[in-house]
Amino acid sequence: MTESDAIVLETRNISKRFPRVLANNNINITLRKGEIISLLGENGAGKSTLMNVLYGLYRPTTGTILLNGEEVEFSSPRDAINRGMGMVHQHFMLVDPLTVTENIILGMEPGRRGVIDYKAARKEVKDLSDRYRLEIDPDSLVEDLPVGLQQRVEILKALYRKARILILDEPTAVLTPGEVEDLFKVIHRLRDSGVSVIIITHKLEEVRAISDRVYILRRGEIAGERRTSDCTKTDLANLMVGRDVVLTVSKDKHEAADKASFEIKNLNVINDRHVRVINDLSLSVRPGEIVGIAGVDGNGQTELAEAIMGQMVQESGEILFKGNPVQNLSTRARRDLGISYVPTDRQKAGLVLPFTIAENVILGSQDEAPFSKGLALQRKPIAEYSRKLVKDYDVRCASIDEEVSNLSGGNQQKVILAREFSREPDFLLVSQPTRGLDVGAIEYIHSQILKMREKNSAILLISLELEEIFSLADRILVLFEGKIVKEFDPSETNDKEVGLYMTGGN
């Protein structure tokens, strides 16, 4: 690619105003033929809005879009697709029980008079897959494919629609390290054949690994444009956040106690589809220690967490807390003993979204003094306590009576941390605490977790982000197919080695 290559996409002073916010303000970007650019920004910086404007989902308030030098106006994604735009959403838009071919032709089936010409369709899908070496079997069912391949089906879908510009929204969020590498190869092949690619991301590493140029968005505006070859990770982070950020929280040495306070012995869990999801798993956590569980999603993380919290029936095995078995206790009883839990899905399992901040903060302690007396909830103590937590944990909100559904993801997570950490638990189970959060929030949440370590909580951290595991954990356990397959000392290993065990190789 050279500077002289034709500009295929250009935006001129795009602004998008929503009733209360200016989501995009005077955005000017250019994209050349066969170029890969990244749009980097925190959550709420306006990346998705911009993409939705480009893809015809939103109409810009002001400004114009130029496609191959010609001014265009999309009134729907269909217009955008017809003009050669393709988009792969973070959450795939695939119909699981259908085959790859069926999914790809959905909406533009070839054939005549209502009869679909499957043979022709299948051949075209196969040809496309071969040309870009996507290695997709056109006949397999989407539900049988691993996530990485499902993503390629989405890419194939865009190519089938003759996309010349491909927009990928957080493409690596769901992938394993190995799959990420494969994806990057695919993207490079696409570029070499003249397709232009826009990647939306908040991961700095990714920007540098894949793209030629990067636009940094902050609060709806372009905060900078860089060639990835001549900028550092720190440059990008500072541009993105607007201040100097600490990329990896500094971790002080902290001596853990000798004796474990939390132990799991030979745990077996069978799910309701009769599959053994936790297989003879044993581990132990000492007070003042963070044990990180690394693994690819779907290897038993959810089930392990639910078994620890008493929400999943276990088949056999023991869970010991301070030497006493707790596996037969209810969730409530385990919490009362001093076990706290930050669940993966903050909106589904962590919060009651239509409830206020105050109500969420006392959720689970609503029947304890001083929050209730007899049957009646006590308004004053609840309000005082909530105000204190909101302040201590820096939850940005209008008032404690605001519904948590109105808060940003980072602030929602802070509400959960406030509730769980303020109980001063002796054992803390934290599952993917920074999922989908931006750099600033991650920094804060990591420092809070380390604070709990200093207070000598025993902490079990489940995360899909290796980076997170490496920056927090004192010991790393690799979970694969419901089993702990390997234990590492983080100072004596690297992400490549851990990644290998995560995918079952050794």
Partner: protein, 411 residues
Amino acid sequence: MDKLLTGLKVIAGVVGVVFWAASQFWGILLVLLALGIHMVQNFSRMDREDAVKKLKDLGMSAFYPAVGILAAIVLGGLIMALTGYDPINAYKAMFYGGLVKNWHISLLNATPLIFTGLSIAVAFKAGLFNIGAEGQYYVGSMIATWLAIRFSLPLGLYILAIFILAGLAAAAYNIIPTWLKIRTGAHEVVTTMMFAHIATKYSTIFVRNNGGDPAVSKHAYVTDAIQEANELLPLKTIIPGANYRVHMGVLLALVTAIVIWYLLYKTKIGFEIRAVGANKTAARTQGINSGRAIMTAMLIAGFLCGISGTTQVLGLEHKMYENLNAGYGWNGISVALLAGNDPIGVIFAALLWGILDAGGQYMARTTQTPSAVVEIIKGIILFLILAKYLYFWFGHKLFKGRKKAAAGEAA
């Protein structure tokens, strides 16, 4: 000062409601006064911004019902005009009948609906659809009738006992469907509906066994009358001007609505019910026993339907009819939906339904307009309120159109 105001508010409210119920229309002035004091009290505690926001929220929550009702009245008028009736006259008769002439009938219609509406609302708050309210209503009616025919005690103690026993029986009627829901996930819409059919069909046998046998009784299809000592006092014992049919059950319904509001929003039981209803996973993750919360809600729901039937038997009918199917259970669903499952809103929704029914009958008698028009209006109201997405869509279109025009000017 604040306490004094609160006292004044409560007294004005209670006295106002009682007199209003007794067709003394100045009672409404006292009610408005109480509401005014309440607003002043609340807003004086907030700063300006919060107060404005709160007012806006209130306005918005009143907006959809208001639009729905207005639109339904206009559409109902159109239908009448198109089918050859005079909508102006018909509406005059309907509102005169429902609000003035037969106000007492409106109240009597609304009373059982308040209870059943509350029942549906409580279940909804726990995330369940108690579609079988009708069955629990019948269970309550039958137990109340059976007890009130046979026994009596002085001092109204027995009336209290009947209320409690009939309520408990109706609550117990929900145990099996709810247990199935918790244990196996069997959907409560199906199970409570089937249970409702069992109870309503069984009631015909019950009526025959309690004096309504067409073979031997001259009052076929009606049970024997309950003992006079078990009848609820009419309202005119405390307010001489009240219509003789209006009974204390009206006041009981209003008090119950307030109790349910308190229970849902100010107690830990209500907190747990709402938490489970809004997000069962999160509630369970926090150690809340979701099964217990659901069971509690369904027991309360059953109890409310039970006392609905009891109020109707002891207060108004004084016997049980086989074929008088007023459908208070089914209509309670509409009332709760209209009220957005808000206990206080249920009062107003039930009153609206009561007024439409009473007014509709009066309209039919005096203007020969079929009272089915009222059912059409009710249907349109519900449709327009439930389809509020329609407004968003419409508003969006309107907004977009305007913005486009503005953009055009700018360019």
